[in-house]
């Protein structure tokens, strides 16, 4: 279940970061946007459950409509975040701004209880299969998420493997060269933000419909790092590698630690160590093997002979261009 939603999100992030080279440290915000969209579109009127929480819309739409709306909102928020990258500022500066956006979004949403539930968040978000028995309902839900993943993978492969994907990679490796070839860098960057955002939105919606509650604590900026680690460990720009990375990172490391025995005197110790391992792993991979476990496949280079393969492989963290002076 978590694997499924994390997979969708990680593919989205891989599209933005691994394939198009947009340094999005605010990715979790689009996931959150999707989750909130689903929540407020499906919660129903706020008198429905004793009126103990307030929210803005008070309408109850069918499940699939709400998920699609989440995808749309995710795409829009993704584009809005991407607009900050339109000013041609340096990659790391842009990443810093994104990090700030992520921190700020959590503060703003948390500060105002009237809008999206504030710090306590929203709860009692309906599950589409609540009419089934809990166990069957869960399995049906897992099956549906698995189906969404299959569809998502297919869509993503078409996108990154096709001409568009090649154009995005070209933009990542050398923006000026791509522009000189006649690609509109701005348009492509926003497009990848939109598609990545839609993936994030769906991921958030599916996640929130399953767990039933959502609050700023669930999308702290460190969650983006978890997805980023999955992308880096698995191999940037390689959808299959990213899937593998997600499985190892998001599932084994972050969900897995919850099943380890808790040490009574130190509650939260295992989770904390999980994050420590995660951060260390990111650094270790960037230092030792920046291309990840599975390298990005670049079939086109085979036709160009040795000279091209000897060229620096611009896997994001590797060096495609000369280091800044």
């Amino acid at each position: 279940m978590y694997l499924g939603t994390d997979l969708l999100a990680a593919w989205g992030l891989n599209l933005e970061f691994g394939v198009s080279g947009v340094a999005n440290l605010a990715y979790i915000v689009v996931v959150a946007a999707g989750a909130y969209t689903y929540a407020i579109l499906s919660l129903g009127p706020d008198t429905g459950n004793g009126g103990f929480q307030q929210y803005v819309l008070g309408i109850q739409l069918p499940f699939f409509v709400a998920v699609i709306a989440a995808a749309v909102v995710g795409a829009v928020v993704g584009v809005l975040i991407g607009v900050t990258g339109l000013k041609r500022i340096r990659q790391d500066y842009q990443a810093m701004v994104m990090l700030v956006i992520s921190l700020m979004a959590a503060t703003v949403i948390g500060a105002d209880t009237g809008f999206l539930g504030g710090q306590p968040g929203l709860s009692l978000i309906p599950n589409p299969f609540s009419s089934l028995s809990p166990v069957t309902g869960d399995w049906v839900y897992v099956a549906m998420v698995a189906f969404a993943c299959v569809v998502g993978y297919f869509v993503m492969r078409r996108f990154t493997g096709g001409p568009m994907g090649r154009a995005l990679r070209a933009m990542r490796d050398d923006e000026n060269a791509a522009a000189a070839m006649g690609f509109s860098v701005v348009k492509m960057r926003l497009l990848s933000q939109a598609v990545g955002g839609a993936f994030g939105g769906v991921s958030g919606a599916l996640l929130v419909a399953f767990i039933g509650g959502w609050s700023p604590g669930a999308w702290a900026y460190v969650e983006t790092l978890a997805l980023l680690t999955a992308v880096i460990v698995g191999g940037m720009g390689n959808d299959f590698g990213v899937s593998l990375g997600t499985f190892v990172i998001a599932v084994l490391l972050l969900q897995g630690v919850q099943f380890l025995p808790q040490i009574p005197s130190h509650t939260g110790l295992t989770e904390a160590l999980g994050w420590v391992v995660l951060g260390t792993l990111t650094i270790a991979f960037l230092v030792v093997r920046p291309q990840g476990v599975l390298k990005e496949r670049r079939p086109i280079y085979r036709f160009l002979g040795r000279q091209a393969t000897a060229a620096p492989d611009g896997d994001g963290a590797g060096s495609a261009t000369a280091p800044p002076p």
Binding site: G21, A23, L25, T84, K87, R88, I89, R90, Q91, D92, Y93, A95, M96, V97, L99, V100, L103, M104, T107, V108, A111, D112, Y221, V222, L225, L228, T229, I232, H266, T267, G268, L269, A272, L273, W275, V276, L278, G279, T280, T282, I283, L286, V287, P290, G316, A317, G318, S319, A320, T321, A322, P323, P324, P325
Partner: protein
């Protein structure tokens, strides 16, 4: 009117902590050209290192100085072991950002693993309340303001009156040229990381004093106004960051007095966004390596 003056007073107090932090952040960036987002984590570490020192019965201001020095050393070690080898290998700026963010998270959760997630406090250190010219400040806040003024004056003298400061400014404005003039730029970098870490640790303690209670998210939350202050003044410009810190501090305290206090940091964020859209070089953006941020 009374409310305005009072909130300006608070703004100066929180702005001086902010100025300390953002000057450290921007100084190091200006010289080594690496955005150090571990800064928030280092600041938290400084605040937490203060706890056992205070427990040993040390004076708070001695603790502040000691923590500053310790974080300075940690910062140099961090640069030497992780950042500068990666820079030498030609890692792209974005890779470095991911490395420093990850390192910050590792640091943050190591602190959690040691101390737990509970809220910590130095106890009430604010001392007597002073009234003058309509301002109401605690004596601790006054000392923090004075310490900041002293540090900033010292930094100004260092940058303008000494051989070392001249070398630092030269490295900041053109590293290659500075090196060919015989300046040991990697040593200058180390010194910049040390000064930056020292300011960071002291700002962490100052923040812990003014906030009175803190937890492991202290630094990462404070990173927003610090970056806003640095950007406002022009990233890489120490003088800009001093002014930026004061402006952001006063703006957020005044707005907190008249508006909802929970939106305090939103003001910092708004300043940041406006600056990025209108003038990404900052108010005082001049010829320095930071200008290469904007193509």
């Amino acid at each position: 009117m009374h409310l305005l003056i009072e909130s300006i007073g608070f703004g100066v107090a929180s702005g001086s902590v902010l100025a300390m932090g953002s000057v450290g952040f921007t100084l190091q960036f200006g010289i080594s050209n690496v955005l150090n987002l571990t800064y928030g984590g280092l600041m938290t570490l400084g605040a937490f290192l203060g706890l056992p020192l205070l427990g040993m019965g040390l004076n708070i201001w001695v603790t502040m100085a000691l923590c500053g020095l310790m974080i300075g050393v940690v910062s140099v070690v961090f640069n030497r072991t992780l950042v500068s080898p990666l820079v030498r290998r030609g890692m792209q700026p974005f890779g470095l950002v991911v490395v420093t963010v990850s390192a910050g998270i590792v640091l943050e959760y190591v602190i959690v693993a040691v101390t737990g997630t509970s809220t910590q406090s130095y106890g009430n250190l604010s001392g007597a309340t002073l009234h003058f010219l309509g301002f109401t400040l605690t004596s601790a806040q006054v000392v923090i303001i004075l310490v900041t003024v002293g540090l900033m004056a010292g930094l100004h003298l260092l940058l303008t009156r000494t051989q070392l400061g001249r070398a630092m400014r030269a490295t900041s404005s053109n590293r290659t040229l500075a090196r060919s003039c015989g300046i040991a730029t990697s040593r200058i970098s180390d010194i910049a990381w040390f000064l930056s870490g020292t300011l960071c640790g002291m700002a962490g303690i100052g923040l812990a004093i003014t906030l009175e209670s803190f937890d492991f998210t202290l630094g990462s939350v404070f990173l927003v106004p610090m970056i806003a202050a640095a950007v406002l003044g022009g990233v890489g410009q120490p003088y800009g960051a001093m002014v930026g810190g004061l402006v952001v501090g006063i703006a957020s305290q005044v707005s907190a007095a008249y508006w909802d206090p929970s939106y305090e940091s939103v003001v910092a964020f708004a300043i940041l966004v406006i600056m990025l859209l209108v003038r990404p070089r900052g108010l005082f953006g001049r010829n320095s390596s930071a200008n290469k941020l904007v193509a």
